[in-house]
């Protein structure tokens, strides 16, 4: 795709947890599997600027949620909203100023914390504390200058454990961990650029050595639009490698929706009204399992006509989704499992006759589409109401909205873009003066920049520039430095992080949960000759999948190193067995035979050793 001509615009908001201790109390930034005392609370909408409470919002909140907060052994009264906040964590402020300085931003003269109203229960107080630290910086990515508009310091929300009916359970361990929030200008014009920017900012953050590491410690929000489209926010992406996929898929989605808009405009489509028909009788003897099941559960099949929408619901010729999935995700918000639309019927056991009967019941013309939902009447009606609204919005084009990222690179509708945040001063926290002395000392003590680290790695550890660069981008640079520094074998360590880890990820095991201690065990055992480096991927897989220790995994896998005599014996046997093949191919037979030997001795012997012995044996046979 030619993203520049499509007018693709991407901005990123990065949230990075700090390891400095919590922002407004003296609790550690740790997670806990234990919890003891629980507190149950409700949150209530507060008065508006005019001193009034929105009665509708109030009823909504009453009908709805209460929140169960699990405290952990180190929770304190501040986290439980039972004590005023302490002074803002000085180290967290310094980390944000340091990061501002690394991106050439201008810090405010005095930091003022605000309360941002959030009543989904993720914060015990009903607001999140946040402060603007600096504005107006930039970073270079390749030869592109990307503007950094703001850097804020805020507190992380409580960790959501489960949602059941009208109760949401949160754990207080994550609440109050400082988060640096960095917002870029919408300067990225390709999916790859978005990834590079995220990588660069991530590397700068890690360079400060004041950030938490591991899954969930850094989260990205992506703001994406194409020209003629609309700003769509993908909230909470955690995997760097998926960023370009999200951007690309979103661009495709918006283009497809713009195409739908064009078609609808050409046909002169007007907003459809919510004219719901109960078509259950038409399906009394249906073969469609879904519809039959719904009727058996005392549900009804309700349908609406979408005038002039025929052909805009199913996927396009080249397989890009159009309105169907959009309507379905809105229907799911209303609590139904899904819908059927005319572009996918007949199908799913629905016959042509049933489709025609439905069309005539709805008085649908050939250019019209229809959507049906089978569920309890109230739910089905609510779903259809949302479907009609969403369909009507398609005539206007791409709606602004917030979407949730899925692990396969797609996204799904979650809610409309939030309105402007309601913020007012957090008067319980003292303002923090940022004077020249503070800034000067931060500037004098800036950390090693990622590119400086790359050069140093090349010089100190003898790895290639590409390897060093990838390490710094991967986020494993600290682990690499520690292990390569402590055990030598920099190449082995680099390969583990740069090759083995991505392979494990592809195979569906998550290497990022491996502790540094496991890696140390691996290298200690490798050095002691317990196994060959070829065994490392299998051992790591076993550690991850079975929870084994490195020793146990080595035993179970049977990858203990074998002595050279056994290696020679295997080589001799295979050379004998494949004598004809070797004679036909000559020295070129080394590769295939090598593969056979490796298969038998998998991970037990260094490949180099095998290849030397085998080469010698083949030569002997041929001469």
């Amino acid at each position: 795709m030619d993203y520049r001509s499509l007018g693709l615009k991407v901005g990123i908001e990065i949230h990075q947890q700090l390891s400095t201790g919590k922002l407004f109390c003296d609790c550690p930034c740790d997670f806990s599997d234990d919890h003891h005392k629980e507190i149950v609370r409700r949150l209530r909408p507060t008065q508006s600027e005019l001193g009034e409470i929105d009665r509708a919002a109030l009823e909504e909140s009453e009908r709805k949620m209460h929140f169960r907060y699990q405290t952990v052994p180190f929770s304190c009264l501040v986290e439980a909203d039972e004590e005023p906040p302490h002074d803002a964590n000085k180290r967290a402020i310094e980390a944000s100023l340091e990061m501002s300085s690394l991106m050439g931003m201008k810090a405010v003269d005095e930091v003022h914390f605000m309360r941002k109203i959030v009543i989904d229960g993720s914060n015990t107080g009903g607001f999140q504390r946040t402060a603007l630290i600096s504005t107006g910086g930039s970073i270079m990515v390749g030869d592109r200058k990307i503007g950094i508009s703001t850097l804020c310091l805020e507190e992380d929300a409580a960790r959501k454990i489960v949602e059941r009916g009208s109760e949401v359970t949160y754990r207080l361990d994550r609440l109050g961990i400082p988060l640096i929030e960095i917002a870029t200008d919408p300067d990225m014009a390709t999916p790859e650029e978005a990834k590079y920017v995220a990588e660069r900012i991530g590397a700068l953050l890690r360079a400060t050595k004041k950030v938490r590491r591991g899954i969930g410690t850094i989260r990205e929000d992506l703001n994406i639009s194409v020209s003629g489209g609309a700003r769509v926010e993908i909230k909470g992406a955690q995997e760097l490698r998926l960023i370009p996929v999200y951007v690309e898929e979103e661009a495709k989605r918006q283009i497809a929706l713009l195409d739908v808009k064009r078609i609808l405009r050409e046909r002169g489509a007007k907003s459809s009204s919510l004219d719901i028909k109960d078509i259950s009788p038409l399906f009394r003897v249906t073969k469609c399992k879904v519809l039959k099941g719904a009727l058996e559960e005392k549900g009804r099949i309700l349908a609406i006509r979408l005038r002039k929408f025929a052909g805009t619901l199913g996927p396009s010729e080249n397989g890009v989704n159009r309105l169907g999935p959009e309507l379905a995700s809105h229907a799911r918000v209303a609590g139904v499992k899904g819908l059927f639309h005319s572009d996918e019927l007949p199908g799913y056991g629905v016959t042509m006759t049933e489709v025609e009967d439905t069309q005539s019941a709805l008085e649908a013309e050939p250019e019209d589409a229809f959507v049906m939902v089978a569920d309890a009447v109230e739910k089905a009606m609510a779903a259809l109401a949302r479907i009609v609204d969403r369909a009507n919005a398609a005539i206007e084009g791409v709606p602004e909205e917030t979407r949730d990222p899925l692990p396969d690179g797609h996204t799904v509708y979650s809610r409309p873009l939030p309105g402007k945040d309601r913020m007012y001063p957090e008067t319980d926290v003292k303002p923090i003066l940022v004077n020249e002395a503070v800034l000067e000392s931060i500037k004098l003590n800036l950390p090693e920049l990622p590119e400086e680290k790359v050069s140093r790695f090349v010089k100190e550890f003898g790895i290639s520039k590409e390897q060093a660069d990838s390490l710094v981008k991967s986020g494993y640079e600290d682990e690499f430095e520690l292990l390569a520094g402590g055990f030598g074998s920099a190449q082995v360590v680099a390969r583990i992080y740069l090759n083995t880890f991505p392979e494990l990820e592809k195979a569906g095991v998550n290497p990022s949960s491996l502790s540094l201690d496991v890696m140390k065990d691996i290298l200690t055992n490798l050095k002691a000759g317990a196994f060959a480096k070829e065994a490392i991927p299998d051992i790591l897989t076993s550690v991850l999948q079975n929870g084994h220790s490195v020793e146990r995994a080595t035993e179970t896998l049977g990858v203990e190193k074998v002595d050279l005599d056994s290696v020679r014996a295997v080589c001799d046997r295979l050379v004998r067995e494949k004598e004809k093949f070797i004679r036909d191919r000559g020295e070129e037979s080394l590769g295939p035979i090598m593969g056979l030997v490796m298969k038998e001795l998998r991970g037990k012997v260094d490949g180099k050793v095998i290849s030397e012995i085998l080469r010698e044996r083949i030569k002997q046979l041929l001469t």
Partner: protein, 429 residues
Amino acid sequence: MKYSGLVGEMLDRANAQLGDVIEVRRGNEVHVGILMPHHDFSSESIVTLKLPNGYNMGIRLDEKSKVKVESRREPKERKKQVLPHDPAKKDIAVISTGGTIASYVDYRTGAVHPAISAEELVFSVPELLDLANVRAKVLYSILSENMKVTHWQGLARAVAEELNSGAVGVIVPHGTDTMGFTSAALAFMLRNLTGPVICVGAQRSSDRPSSDAIMNLLAATRLCVDSDLGEVVVLMHGESSDSYTLAHRGTKVRKMHASRRDAFRSINSEPIAKIEGPQIEFISEHTGRSKGPVELKDKIDGRASMLHFYPGFEADHFDLIANHVKGVVIAGTGLGHVSEEILGSVTRAVDKGVHVYVTTQCLYGAVNLNVYSTGRDMVTAGAIPLGDMLPETAYVKLMWAMGQTDDPEEVRKLMLTNIAGEFTTRRFV
């Protein structure tokens, strides 16, 4: 909240008012935003602006900086609201005195201000109107630490007037710091109650979605409408969760935590009632509603003091205070003791006609001056033990008793009579 020094002068010269949109120039930096109030702990050279993105930032001004007003604050339109009256519902009265529960945040400037009108207070909890007709009145707008004995008198009069004119109960929104003093004062001043008088506070201000004010106010309303209670109580959260509230006897309650929602505790007694949703459960004996009318005994003599004894308390200090008051309540150590040195002061005070009463700073348990020689010496010196009465309650009661009579013997009789549940004789294990 006001700017001073250079910043104050520059803002004055530009005629900039809080809430105006102003432009600040310093060198080549330009910032535009709403002028916010000065935070007490903000540096003197800093002006605080609310930026269009909602954030506040502090900007340092120097001699060369320039300030100008871009646009004036738009005057806020306040709709005049009228409290509805439903003949099918009972009337309750809300007499506000101030404090966290009755304060509001101006979201535009962040300034906290007390409720201006009773209507404003009631409409912040519109659910109240589902339960009762509300007669609302803002009597005071003060922080509870600024309460004086004259405020208690004014409040007692207002409460009596409401009950005697048909309200089935009175809710008194109050700052929590001294709410226990006020509830004790009302308990002594108001007799023959025709309905509950409920002091209600909040530990989290009502600008927060997590405020405890609403639940406390609703429970108080229910207690007014749906119970036969005829006593002065303090009603607050029973635990940290928003699960239930407790009504504590006005003379037996004390704020026992600086910040928690469940800060208020009944001391040496059980709470009177537990209110959970619409459910009211009476936990201990209580006085029911009288047929009326409510009797007002609001005379009070403020010339008393409460002295907390500690190691190193000097006799000079005791004497100095005793010379300026008519009565002293001592919060003694343990069973109610003071040092030998203070024993001398007690003797001197009693000789001058000063009432000296003894309570325990342990709060839990009762004074007993028979066990140790110090105690016996105190009694000999003329100090009178007050059982398990809370020091604060004893202090309030002494002033009230001195207001009722000038006769020391009558004062003594009043002090030792259980008037509003201030004594319990049995403390359960």
